[in-house]
């Protein structure tokens, strides 16, 4: 058999799962969500968890609830495909279905989960950058306590989050988009369903006069975790977004804040070129949508 042996737990309730992970988490036990990244790693024996606590039978972790403030609360085990096709998600956070369309294939999204893709913290993953741009909040629970952290705290590095060994990501809060706000997700990958060479998630908010009053631009594929384009946002803030300004603002980020690596798929120069082209395209689209 391909994976190494492990003890298997199939809890029916969250409290049962929290008890089990508190016992096995410190000794190399892991949470099993959709398994679409973990099980391939186990098949290669790159991952050899001593125990798996399988959350697939915990019905209380599968839900999408619109919140009173205009946002969403999403149970961590909600399948990606369910999130992608949900009407409330399309209406309240259209960047989520747009980015999920790029994530692997429908067959993978049928099993993969919203919480799992975030907790995997893949530097080339779509959801982490969207989480950084939209400022998701993450509910982390252990047997003893629960806490909320934001996207900046949650993502630490490659495949690493701030989750402790005895904690489970149980829910994700997607804040409401403000008035006159628009979003855009762009990426380039070598083939459909593959990891992105470079990708970008953008949120832009305009004031009544059409000047940029707030926003966040997050890049993927250029570092170990989502990179916020602060230099670009500084230049855009308070200004009317002309084509020239957008190009200059993105250039400020591309020339000073991004430090992509080179690999067999793309050189540093090509990744920076993509970062410029996708950045301009994303900000323009987000501005156009915000103006509607």
């Amino acid at each position: 058999m391909k994976p190494a042996s492990f003890e298997y737990y199939a809890p029916r309730s969250l409290s049962e799962a929290l008890e089990q992970i508190s016992q096995v988490g410190d000794d190399g036990g892991k949470i099993l969500a959709g398994g679409q990244s973990l099980v391939p790693a186990m098949n290669f024996r790159m991952a050899q968890p001593t125990a798996l606590v399988d959350l697939n039978r915990i019905s209380e972790l599968f839900y999408i609830n619109p919140t009173d403030s205009g946002g969403l609360m999403i149970g961590a085990m909600t399948r990606d495909r369910v999130v992608e096709l949900d009407e409330n998600v399309k209406l309240r956070a259209p960047m989520i279905p747009e980015c999920l369309h790029w994530m692997a294939h429908p067959t993978i999204r049928n099993r993969g989960t919203f919480g799992g893709a975030l907790a995997h913290s893949d530097p080339a993953g779509q959801l982490p950058v969207v989480a950084a741009a939209l400022q998701f909040n993450f509910k982390l629970q252990s047997k003893k306590a629960e806490r909320w952290v934001n996207a900046d705290e949650f993502f630490v590095s490659v495949y690493t989050t701030c989750l402790e060994a005895d904690e489970i990501l149980t829910a994700i809060e997607v804040p409401a988009l403000g008035k006159h706000s628009g979003t855009s997700f762009q990426q380039v990958s070598r083939q459909s369903g593959e990891s992105a060479l470079v990708g970008i998630a953008t949120l832009i908010s305009l004031d009544e006069a059409g000047k940029i009053k707030d926003g966040r631009i997050a890049y993927m594929g250029v570092a170990e975790k989502p990179v916020m384009a602060s230099a670009a946002m500084d230049m855009l803030m308070g200004n009317k977004p002309s084509d020239e300004l957008i190009a200059d603002a993105i250039k400020a980020t591309v020339s000073s804040e991004l430090d992509p690596g080179a690999d067999i798929h793309a050189s540093v120069e090509y990744r920076l070129h993509l970062a410029q082209a996708l950045g301009v395209k994303a900000v323009k689209e987000a501005v156009a949508r915000a103006a509607k």
Binding site: M1, K2, P3, A4, A10, V39, N43, L52, P106, T107
Partner: protein
Amino acid sequence: MSDLIDIKVTVNGTLYERSVEPRMLLSDFIRFELGLGGTHVGCEHGVCGTCTILFDGKPQRSCITFAVQADGHTIETVESLGTPDKMSVLQQAFQEKHGAQCGFCTPGILMTMTAFLKDNPHPTEEEIREGIDGNLCRCTGYQNIIEAVKLAADNMASKS
């Protein structure tokens, strides 16, 4: 070795009871425990799609799911679609258009597209191409496969 776990899984309408190690992949369970060799295993890490089965009616990769996770669930494999004498509309179209080619990727494509055509009975060519983008054919000729799916959609439409 960890303890064996008793599971009950309905596969192609038959309820099977088996004891398995937790680490047994669903694909290996289907092939070696149940003797259903129609489900092929290619890359064994969720990339090629030939091991695709229907899990509670939805296409999923059986090589990156554990057999214990199928306990209490319903699985359909390529054997459920038809027999050589009585093929499904999609299988007939694959035969007519020579969509099988070498045949290795075919079981996964048939399962993926059986579910696809249920959700979208009148697909455009673009949608068909997108629908099979998670299934690799290393004969590298998707043309016959796409034509077969188109023909199946037409034949299903004229039947109903």
